[in-house]
Symmetry: C2
Subunit: 380 residues, 2 copies
Amino acid sequence: MSERILEFLRRREANGASDGPCVVVDLDIVRDNYETFAKALPDTSVYYAVKANPDPEILNLLANLGSSFDCASVGEIEMVLATGAKATRISYGNTIKKERDIARAYQLGVRLFAVDCVEEVEKIARVAAGSKVFCRVLCDGLGAEWPLSRKFGCDPAMAPDVLEHAHRNGLETYGVSFHVGSQQANLSAWDLALSMAAGVFQEMALRGIELKMVNMGGGFPARYLKEVPGVPSYGEAIFSALTKHFGNRLPSTIIEPGRGMVGNAGMIEAEVVLISRKSADDELRWVYLDIGMFNGLAETLGEAIRYPISTQHDGGNTAPCVLAGPTCDSVDVLYEKTPYELPVSLSIGDKVLIDACGAYTTTYSTVGFNGFAPLESHVI
Amino acid sequence: MSERILEFLRRREANGASDGPCVVVDLDIVRDNYETFAKALPDTSVYYAVKANPDPEILNLLANLGSSFDCASVGEIEMVLATGAKATRISYGNTIKKERDIARAYQLGVRLFAVDCVEEVEKIARVAAGSKVFCRVLCDGLGAEWPLSRKFGCDPAMAPDVLEHAHRNGLETYGVSFHVGSQQANLSAWDLALSMAAGVFQEMALRGIELKMVNMGGGFPARYLKEVPGVPSYGEAIFSALTKHFGNRLPSTIIEPGRGMVGNAGMIEAEVVLISRKSADDELRWVYLDIGMFNGLAETLGEAIRYPISTQHDGGNTAPCVLAGPTCDSVDVLYEKTPYELPVSLSIGDKVLIDACGAYTTTYSTVGFNGFAPLESHVI
C-alpha cells in the first residue's frame, strides 16, 4: 500500500473534498513497474497498452522513460502524440479499424498496424502504403483469469495467407502477435504461443518471406487477492521459450503490459452508503458502496477480479457480506456468489480502500449512469 | 420505424457528419407512449424513471405532459428541477442514499423517499423530517427478462417493521413499492406483487397505521425482436389485480416506466467496421460494428436483449454472424452464443440501423474506453 496515496487521501479528507469515490495512482509505482519490465526482458520493447489507463501524466512518465505505446484507436494515438513521443513509438494494435482511421493514423505518422484477416490488410494497403503489419493469431488462453474470446486473431493456419497477402500488396510483413489472456498466471502459456509463432515464421520462410518480430501481447497480471508470479519469473520463462523455439535467430520482440504496468499503482477510496439485511434472520449483510460496476469497478463483472479491500476496522472479527454499488441497477452487485469477508464493526459512512485499481477503472466508468459522476482520478 | 428519424439520419449523412455511431430519439413516440400509459391506467401517477434516458429534451417534454419523475440520485433530481417541474413531482426512488444526499434532496424540496431497511429510515428521519416514505419489498421477478437480484427491497415480512420504525420516527408511512423485474412479459407478475402489497397494508392496519400508496415500479417492456403484450393489456391486468386485492379501498398508485416510455422511441445508426472469418473454412462471419458494449449497447450483456437490426440489404439471403463491438476488449461481443442472421451481401462500410435503443444506451456509455467517444445522442 502506497504511503504517498494514503497521505494524499488524508489531505483530500482534511480539505473536505472527499464527497465521492476517487482513484489515486502513484507514479513512483508505475516507474518501478516499467523498470522491472525493462530489466526482466532487456531485449524486448515495452509498448504500454494505453487502454489500461490513458491518464496524460501516466503517458508522459512512460514516454520519458522510453516506453512505446499500444493504441486501440486514433483517440489513443492522439493522446500519446500529445506527450511529445514520436509516432514511430506507436503500434495501432486494434485488429478492427475503420479505413479512414487507418488513414488518419498514417497521416499522423503511424507505420505499424495489427491485422488478423485479408480484409484488414487491404484497408491498410490502400491508405497506409508500405507500413509494417503483424498478424494476430488465436491463442487458447489456458490459465488466464479471462481466456479471451475468439474476437481477435485468426487461426494460426490462416496467418501465413494473411501475411502473404500483405506482402503481395506492398506492405512490410513484419511479424506475428498473440495474447495469452488477461491476468495470465500460467508461465507455460507463453511457451505454447511462441511455439505457434515460430511455426508461422517457418511457413513464411518457406514462402520466401522473412518475418522479424513477435508481439507477445499483454496478460501480465496485477496482484489482487491471489498471489501471482513476479515479472522476473515471466521474463525468464519467456526468454527460455524464445530460445527454445527460435534458437540463435531470435526475432525482435514486443510486450504490451497494461494491467501489469499500472494495476498495482492505483487505489480507490470509497464510502459505505448503507449496510442492511433483507430479513430479520438474514445471515448476510448487504454492504452498499458509493462505487460499483458503472463508475469504476466494471471488472468485477462475473466476480472475475477480487480486489483487496481494507477498512479502519481491520483486525477485528469479520463476517461475509454481499457487496454492491450505489445505482438502481440490479446488475450493479460486485460480490454475491462468493460473499466478501468484512469487519463486523464496519459502519455506514466509513471509508474503505480498494487496492490494485490503477488499470481498467477510470475509462470503464460510464458518463453518468443514474446521475452519478464518472470516477474522479488523481495521479500523484 | 420512425420516418422522422430516418430523415434526420439522411440529412446527417448528407452533411458529412456521420463518422461515428449515434442514437436518435423521436419525441413524438415518447409523447405517444406517455399518453398510452396515462390512458391505460388513468388513476395512476406516471413517474418516469429518469435513468432510462435523462436527456433534457425528453425530461422537458414529459414535464410538460404532466409526468412525475423517479430519480436515482441528487444529479437526476437536479436534471428534473431544471425543466421547471416542482420537487413535489419527484420520488427519490433509490433505496441506497448517502445521508448528505437525502439532506440535499430535502433542501431541494423532495418529500418522497424509498427505503428498504431501518438504517435508511433513520437517515431520512434525521435529515428529511416529516417526509413520506415507502418501503420496497422483494419480488421474485418470475417471467422477467432480468429477474432482478435481491439488491433492492426487503422480505415482505420485514416491511411492516421498517414502516413502523418510520412512523415512530416521525415520518409519514406512505406505502409500499415493488418491481416485478425488467422487460416483464408475464402479466400475472403484478397480481402476485399486489397481493403481497395488500398483505403489508393489512398488517400495518392491524398496527394502527394506514398506508395510502402502492408504487408498482417499472418492468413495462419495449418491443425488441420478441413480441410483448401492449400497454393496455398491462393496464387491464393491473387494474383487475388492484380491485381483487384492495376491493373498494383502492390505494393511490404510481408506475415508473423507463424502458416502456423511451425504449422504442430511439434508433442507433452504426457502421460495419470489419467482416472476417477466423479460418479458411469458418462457417461464421464475424461482423464488427463501431458500437458495442462500451459505447451504448451495454444491455447486450449476457445476450439479454436482442435488438432488431436492419440493413440496406434486407430481403436477400442471410447467414449467421457473430456480432462484436470495436474495442480491444474480448468482452465486447454482442451476440455469439446465439449468432445473429445478417444479409450475406452486408459489406464493410455499410450502415446498419439498430432499433428500440431509446432506453439504457446513452448513459451506460463509458467516458472513453479505448479512446472511443461516448455515444452521440440526438433528440428530435
